[in-house]
């Protein structure tokens, strides 16, 4: 980057460089043990939990979006300024929301309230970033059916928008009273870490790896991977969201604790079904990576040329 002659720096560079440097700070703060004991460690845990998500995974996944979407669609990002704005707001709001993992805990009340306030503020970078991606894709969504990389990225963008917005709502005390400590949280974390981050990584690999190796994964292989992962994670998230809500309501209605365990049974079974589909999709993904690297390339026309044809 330092040797580039252009004045502007790609948005994907902003996010990836930032993400890598911030991750170093997270690691140092979380790992050094000499200052965190008892309740102090609880607050550092809260900081770590959400900063690992927000300042490590999120900027790197967004970096993939900012790189791959313009590349695959052969058009510039909708708004450079909006991307920069989302970058700085993400940087300032995200590190403050960690304590929302410990609402109603003995952590200082002001710390919890601050976390809730900035969880709401997170809507700004989330909606700004998502709008930027979706507006870049606008008018080109019909190319998605020709392009699994784009489908993966599209699901990733929707996962980012929906999952992060859900996170804001979950941070409210009134909703935490129902959902905190239940499986709803597990559903939420899979919607974000899987539906957003993992789909972003897959989309990025399918979009960019063939450009590096010159070898393609088969459309069938990518299709099987995509639908298994999408349907699997959908079942997983929906079942845990419903089950978690039932758990929380059981507790509020003063039912014996074991009742909440019994009531979860069908939802645990559905989680198992969803998880199995997700696991199978990972095996197909490994096969696809093999095709794109050491294996024999599939005969697939890269999307870029197809898009170009469509445009001309």
């Amino acid at each position: 980057m330092a040797h580039r002659s252009t004045e502007d720096i790609y948005l994907s560079n902003w996010y990836t460089v930032g993400g890598v440097l911030w991750t170093c700070i997270i690691a140092i703060v979380a790992i050094l043990p000499w200052y965190q004991y008892g309740l102090g460690q609880v607050s550092v845990s809260g900081y770590f939990m959400h900063n690992a998500v927000g300042m490590w995974f999120t900027p790197l996944a967004l970096g993939i979006f900012y790189y791959a979407i313009p590349k695959v669609l052969s058009r510039p990002i909708y708004s450079y300024a909006l991307g920069v704005f989302a970058f700085w707001t993400n940087l300032i709001f995200y590190p403050i929301i960690g304590a929302h993992h410990f609402l109603f805990s003995p952590l200082p009340w002001w710390l919890q309230t601050t976390a809730i306030v900035f969880s709401v503020a997170m809507l700004v970078p989330v909606w700004g970033g998502s709008a930027n991606f979706l507006l870049t894709m606008r008018g080109r969504l019909r190319y998605m059916i020709h392009s699994y990389p784009l489908m993966f990225i599209f699901v990733g963008v929707v996962g980012y928008l929906v999952g992060s917005t859900q996170g804001t709502f979950e941070a409210f005390r009134s909703l935490q009273q129902v959902w905190h400590l239940t499986n709803f949280t597990v559903g939420h974390s899979h919607l974000t870490m899987y539906g957003f981050v993992t789909f972003a990584i897959w989309g990025g690999i399918y979009a960019l790896l063939p450009r590096a190796t010159g070898k393609q994964a088969s459309v069938l292989g990518m299709g099987v991977h995509f639908w298994l992962a999408l349907v699997g994670s959908f079942i997983y998230v929906i079942s845990l969201s419903i089950g978690g809500t039932i758990q929380g309501l059981d507790w509020i209605h003063d039912k014996p604790f074991i009742q909440s365990v019994v009531d979860m049974k069908p939802y645990y079974v559905w989680r198992g079904v969803g998880g199995l589909l997700m696991f199978l999709s990972h095996i197909v993904f490994a096969w696809n990576v093999w095709k794109m690297t050491y294996g024999r390339s599939a005969k697939t026309v890269p999307l870029a040329s197809k898009t170009a044809e469509g445009l001309t």
């Binding site: 502007d8 609880v42 003063d254």
Partner: protein, 334 residues
């Protein structure tokens, strides 16, 4: 180039400041939270047990934090900052697949119950989904002197030999039994009358219930939370370990005096139907209110085919007064 340094230097500097503000400084500050009154460091054995708890991932399914919310009151009083002074690594947890353990030493104070439950959770809680921790136990032909074998019920017992806890299991149970919330200063030694206030109890009795002050739903819930772990939801107990309440002479006695006293002050060893029960039942005088106890007693008297006259809150209050009087007599005579 200037923009590059702005991104690299500026954003990293801002993030470092925010990390100091939101991570490091609360960490340092809260690490100096003084221990609350009666909060003591763990004994070496309990500390060893805590390491077993951490190593086996107990904290993934069990929390150790009671929130100031009505639904958490079954687990104890709300956690206070001073409760965590000696808790490193912290074990507050983020999910309750299983119940909160903040006060489990008071709630489930039977060592035998803890061993049976760890060896095979289904032996004492049929609907439990907790994994078996039988690898913390050993099966030997005969228990060595001084070690009590775990009374595992037939369907779960090994075909031959007896089950004895390893050092890890003993340490873990010592740790679990040490989990008791210390009383806060100013908190009444008497239990807070939980959900049922006298007026509420009156309203309930005025409606439809057979005995004054008996709320059958509340009774079933209190029994489930406080008694069913040992006596089982079926009231049949576990032969030789936890006594049955079904067809139990004390439970079916028209005079509830003895039943109330057992709940108030516990019981050490009894024989029912020719089967000896050598265990120790904890005292509930400081855990349950009179209204709670009458609900539990009436639940026991009207469930599993038991048909005994229901007790009243006044009878419980009278027995509590008797107990207090006896304790004063003993206190004064020593």
């Amino acid at each position: 180039m200037k923009a590059l340094w702005l991104i690299i230097g500026g954003s990293t500097l801002i993030y470092a400041i925010l990390a100091l503000m939101m991570g490091v400084s609360p960490g340092i500050d809260l690490s100096h939270t003084p221990p609350g009154p009666n909060v003591n460091p763990l004994t070496p054995l309990e500390a060893e047990g805590r390491a077993v708890y951490v190593a086996n991932g107990c904290g993934y399914c069990h929390t150790q934090q009671v929130r100031p919310l009505p639904e958490d009151s079954v687990f104890g009083r709300p956690s206070a900052p001073g409760d965590f002074a000696y808790q490193t690594p912290e074990l507050l947890g983020s999910e309750r697949t299983g119940p909160d353990l903040t006060n489990v030493g008071a709630r489930q104070s039977s060592e035998v119950w803890q061993y049976m439950h760890l060896y095979e959770p289904r032996a004492v809680m049929p609907q439990s989904i907790m994994p078996s921790f039988n690898f913390l136990f050993r099966v030997v032909p005969e228990a060595p002197a001084g070690v009590a074998p775990v009374p595992v019920p037939k369907p779960y017992a090994p075909p031959q030999g007896v089950v004895i806890p390893t050092q890890k299991a003993m340490a873990l149970v010592a740790y679990l039994l040490s989990l008791k919330q210390p009383l806060l200063p100013g908190a009444a030694a008497q239990p807070a009358t939980t959900a049922i206030t006298p007026s509420a109890a009156h309203v309930v009795s005025a409606k439809s219930t057979p005995g004054p002050g008996f709320d059958s739903a509340k009774g079933a819930q209190l029994f489930s939370a406080n008694c069913a772990a040992c006596h089982q939801a079926t009231g049949e107990g576990i032969p030789g370990v936890f006594p049955p309440l079904k067809d139990n002479a004390v439970v079916n006695d028209p005079n509830p005096s003895q039943q109330i006293q057992v709940i108030l002050s516990g019981l050490h060893g009894t024989t029912i139907g020719g089967i000896a029960y050598p265990g120790q039942m904890p005292a509930f005088a400081s855990i349950l209110s009179d209204a709670d106890i009458v609900n539990i007693i009436d639940h026991e008297r009207s469930s599993w085919g038991n048909h005994a006259p229901l007790a009243t809150a006044a009878q419980v209050a009278a027995e509590r007064a008797k107990l207090k009087h006896w304790l004063e007599v003993i206190w004064n005579s020593t």
